[in-house]
Amino acid sequence: MKTLLLLAALAAVTAVTACDRRASPTENGARAVTGIVELRFGSLVERYDLRVERTDQGFAPSLTPLGGAQAAGRGLQGLAFVRFDAGGGDPIVIPTPQGTVTTRLTYRPLGPWQVLDRAAVSVAVPQLGTGPEFTVAVVEPRLVR
């Protein structure tokens, strides 16, 4: 009798775990990603401490400015530093009346997730040609278990 009940309980726990999408077997207890975010444009260089927590709803990034960075002024929260898939990796070209804006987002695998490697925005304006690129990079990303 007890054996039967134990087996039933075990089967129920196994079924619940298998159906729980929040803790898929591939995530293996990974809880967060840390690293340094580096923002560059011309002489402008800003760095931030990055921590992205895995939550029930997805990923919650937080940034702490290093040196004279202006996190509050830029509204820097909310960028998809970590996600489940790498995406296409093709450049995103947006033509505007002034010129063309081309953005390339590249992600690299880190444990069960994909972490932003580099985002580069370049511009081509007919009268001005091409100039400096704006880049956002995540340096030395690490998985926290």
């Binding site: 402008l44 990034p61 998809a80 489940f84 898939d85 947006i94 511009v123 704006f134």
Partner: protein, 122 residues
């Protein structure tokens, strides 16, 4: 056979089975259906998300052009400008670079969110 059947005769078995059946009966079927949005809804979402990214791109290119103008102004000031003129020009260049940083960040944020299939907390 009789012994086997007796192993299932416990006092709470009846209420437990009834509870499970009741829970299954009251679970809304729409909860399952809602996880897969119809194709039309996806298309509408894509359209409305593409517009903000376009606006961010326009804001970025405007900031970028302003930076190039500030850079040219700085270079023109350097040869014969006074100290205060050069400092003013350098400050305007820094501000222009900062504007590009803000606009660029917003553009990347928009595009990264747009391309991602996973949920991100804003």
């Amino acid at each position: 056979m009789n012994t086997h059947a007796n192993t299932l005769h416990v006092r709470w078995a009846g209420p437990a089975v009834l509870t499970v059946l009741f829970a299954l009966a009251v679970t809304p079927r729409t909860a399952v259906a809602a996880t897969e949005p119809p194709a039309a809804a996806v298309t509408a979402t894509t359209r409305t998300m593409a517009l903000p990214c376009y606006q961010e791109a326009v804001a970025y290119i405007d900031a970028w052009i302003a930076y190039i103008a500030a850079w040219q102004d700085y270079e023109n000031t350097l040869p014969g400008g006074t100290e205060s003129e050069i400092m003013d020009s350098a400050r305007r260049l820094d501000q222009a670079a900062s504007q590009v940083g803000t606009a660029g960040w917003k553009l990347v944020k928009c595009l990264a969110g747009f391309a991602s299939s996973g949920p991100i907390i804003f």
